[in-house]
Structure formats: C-alpha cells, structure tokens
C-alpha cells in the first residue's frame, strides 16, 4: 500500500486521481471550512498541528487500514494555519480494487483522525 501524507499551509491542489492497474475505485473526501461555528459567523479556521505526532498517528491509522482492507493507496493533505471559509482543510483519496473497501477505509480514516490526530481548530472571526 502506498501512502502520502502532506501537512501544508497552502491551498490543496486539484490532483488527478491516482490510477493503477487493477484499481477499480477511487473515493475522495474534501472537508470544507463552513461559514459558521457554534452558530456564529466566522471568516476562517486556524489549524494548529503537533506535526511529529500527527505524522506518527496517521501512520498508525494507515497501518490499521492496511490490516483490514486491500487498499492500494492513500493520499492525504491536511492544511495547517489559516484556512478561509469554503476552502478545503482536509483532502483524502483512497484507491482500491472495489468500492466497498475504499468507502469503508475512508470513513474509518476520518473517524480515527478525529479521535487521535493532534490537530486543533481556532475560529477566526
């Protein structure tokens, strides 16, 4: 399984899907900054990351995915610093032979990230 993890302050580029022989499914997730937080208007979210630990925790999650599903590749970009409303803060792409495992792995990855990966938000008003 190939993995690529990027933490970047820059906007997430539009990447063409990573196709490989035998891969039948590509599931992509964009997490987008919403214009309200706790009912109040915001202009952006500032993301703080404990980067060394972020990388290690993502590696643990990637390994758990590889143990459970025949996933071919995972690419993940999480922005750090300020991300404006309607911009993508998280981008995940998972390729696999069939769609069921790509959907399952992508949801598992995001759920695990939200429990374990040390990244925090601060609303910018």
């Amino acid at each position: 399984m190939k993995t690529q993890l990027t933490l970047t302050p820059n906007p997430i580029p539009k990447s063409p899907p990573a196709m490989a022989d035998g891969m039948g499914a590509v599931v992509t997730f964009h997490g987008v900054v919403r214009g309200t937080e706790d009912g109040e208007s915001i202009t952006a979210i500032h993301y703080e990351a404990n980067e060394t630990m972020v990388r290690h925790q993502f590696e643990l999650i990637f390994a758990a995915i590889e143990n459970q599903w025949p996933v071919e590749s995972i690419r993940l970009v999480h922005r750090v610093g300020e991300v404006a409303v309607n911009e993508t803060s998280l981008w995940v792409e998972i390729t696999s032979p069939h769609r069921a495992e790509a959907f399952a792995a992508c949801q598992f990855l995001i759920d695990e990230m939200k429990a374990k990966v040390p990244i925090w938000k601060r609303a910018v008003r």
């Binding site: 993301y47 703080e48 630990m53 972020v54 998280l90 990230m113 374990k116 990966v117 601060r122």
Partner: protein, 81 residues
C-alpha cells in the same frame, strides 16, 4: 528526574506557557505527573477528564511509568478535519 511537559491548543492559553520542566521521582506514572502539573497550573484542573496525554508521539494511560528524558504532551480533545 526531569520531564518536559508540552502544552497544545488552548491549554497554552490556560498555562500561559508552551512547555515546562517537572521534577518527579523514579517510578512515577503519567497520572502522578498530570496531578503535579495541575497543582502548578490550576486552570488545567477543570479539563482533567478530557485531557489527552502522550509520551513522545504515542498516547499513554495514567499508569504509564515515566523515564528520565521523556517528553510529555498534554492537550484538549483533537479537532482535525
């Protein structure tokens, strides 16, 4: 022995510092250290039950026995995505 404790997210606002050095006895646990830190920084006490604790890059539970040179991170629930 001395343990470096780093704070993240709004824990830094509560402690008004990024990291601190805490002296503990041989054989003390992460739970003991957390108690000592809360004595030094009382504003962390109300977050006691939701505090996440890592030693190095791995999460550990309160019964984890610390070693000299360990770097401990204390932080609130994570919010990636």
């Amino acid at each position: 022995m001395k343990i470096t404790v780093k704070f993240w997210s709004y824990f830094r606002d509560l402690t008004e510092c990024d990291e601190t050095l805490i002296k503990i006895e041989e054989g003390e646990t992460l739970g003991n250290l957390h108690a000592t830190v809360m004595t030094k920084f009382p504003k962390l006490a109300k977050m006691k039950n939701s505090t996440l604790k890592a030693v190095g890059v791995d999460y550990q539970t309160d019964d984890f026995v610390l070693s000299d040179g360990d770097e401990v991170s204390l932080f609130p629930p994570v919010q990636g995505g």
